[in-house]
């Protein structure tokens, strides 16, 4: 300012004034524009993220509803096709009793009806066990998994084993059921798609987390493939796994060991001990 005063050149002074004013004005406008455009971009990005999250949630919800429907259909089919005819036959035998009064025939038909009712009881027990394995409720996850693996080993096609390193404290009942369902689905997938010769399950505890890891020597999937399949319209089982893991507030990762031989699936579950 003193320089301007000293020079006394009115032309240069008015130049300074005009350019200075224009410069300040442009600076202010640029600043405002930057803020507005940046905020618009951030909001757009946030909305996109929100939309993606909503789509994912909807997909998971759809998958869980579909799964429930499939399960209901299976139970309905089991009851209708197996239990229904058995009970109807038992009813026929008992009707026979009303018609034939001879004790020998009556005894024979009562015996047959008893056998059919026994079969029905066994059938209903099987349906109930497939819905909620009693071993899981009474003896915990370790026993339930060992039970499942024993059944798998019985087929002689695949060798399944489980080792729980730190299972002194059981998880909460709901958590155990969710983990069991996830492991069951993973094992089913391995048997169905991977052509594996063995499956080995290990359990560990580190800090406040329980880790379940399944090793197998078949053709598995990696994390990227899991995420891709999860976003596809198919893959109901994988979506169920994802939604159950979400309920557990845990995480799941698919990878391969350093020798590129064994595929690994690791589930991390925050520990909530049973009361």
């Amino acid at each position: 300012m003193f320089l301007l005063q000293a020079s006394g050149n009115s032309f240069s002074v008015s130049n300074v004034l005009i350019f200075g004013t224009i410069g300040m004005f442009v600076m202010a406008i640029t600043l405002v524009s930057v803020v507005v455009f940046h905020q618009r971009r951030v909001i757009k990005f946030n909305k996109q993220l929100q939309k993606m999250e909503e789509e994912k949630q909807q997909m998971l919800l759809k998958a869980s509803i579909n799964f429930q429907e499939e399960e209901r259909q299976r139970i309905a089919a089991d009851l209708h096709d197996d239990a229904g005819p058995l009970l109807a036959t038992a009813r026929l035998y008992l009707n026979e009793n009303l018609i034939h009064q001879e004790p020998a025939v009556q005894l024979q038909s009562i015996f047959s009806a008893k056998q059919i009712i026994d079969d029905s009881i066994q059938l209903i027990r099987n349906i109930s066990h497939s819905l909620m394995p009693p071993t899981l409720k009474n003896f915990g996850l370790e026993s339930a998994m060992k039970d499942l693996f024993e059944k798998i080993n019985g087929s002689g096609v695949i060798n399944a084993s489980a080792r729980f390193h730190d299972n002194r404290e059981r998880l909460k009942e709901e958590q155990e059921l969710l983990v069991f369902r996830v492991l069951q689905e993973l094992v089913t997938n391995i048997i169905k798609h991977s052509n594996a010769g063995f499956i080995h399950l290990t359990q560990n505890v580190q800090g406040n987390f329980s880790y379940f890891r399944i090793h197998h020597d078949g053709k598995g999937i990696l994390q990227k493939e899991f995420e891709r399949l999860n976003f596809d319209s198919g893959g109901l089982g994988l979506k169920n796994i994802e939604s159950r893991i979400k309920v557990l507030k845990g995480s799941i990762s698919f990878d391969i060991d350093s020798t590129q031989t064994y595929y690994k699936v690791t589930i991390e579950v925050p520990k909530e001990p049973s009361k």
Binding site: M1, F25, I29
Partner: protein, 121 residues
């Protein structure tokens, strides 16, 4: 005009411009799903920012150059232009619809319920 204090005006301009920039930075950092230009606060702030940025050089030169006729003409033109711009921007700010807060929304809904209850009985 003769008693114009350029230093005080300059300091005031810088201070208010800095406050405006601070407000804009806060808006940039904040997580808000509301567009910044849909609030009247934003228009008031940019009014101050643009007006003071535009007249900053004018004010700091005014004390020494006020006797210069050429400067007086420029002063009138620039000051009037930015005054008009300031008034336009302030009018926009005044015309902005206030965005209801959650609390006010609830109050309005309660009031609506109360009115409909009164009308029904």
């Amino acid at each position: 005009m003769n008693g114009f204090d350029s230093i005080a005006s300059g300091v005031e301009c810088i201070f208010i411009i800095l406050l405006c920039i601070y407000y804009l930075i806060i808006q940039l950092k904040g997580i808000n799903n509301l567009f910044v230009y849909s609030t009247s606060n934003f228009w008031i702030i940019i009014t101050f920012l643009i007006y003071l940025a535009g007249t900053f050089f004018l004010y700091i030169m005014a004390e020494n150059m006020i006797q210069n006729e050429n400067f007086q003409i420029q002063y009138t033109i620039i000051n009037s232009a930015f005054n008009i711009l300031k008034n336009i921007l302030l009018s926009i700010a005044m015309l902005m619809k206030p965005t209801p807060t959650e609390e006010n929304k609830q109050k309005n809904e309660d009031w609506d319920d109360f009115l409909s209850h009164k009308l029904n009985n």
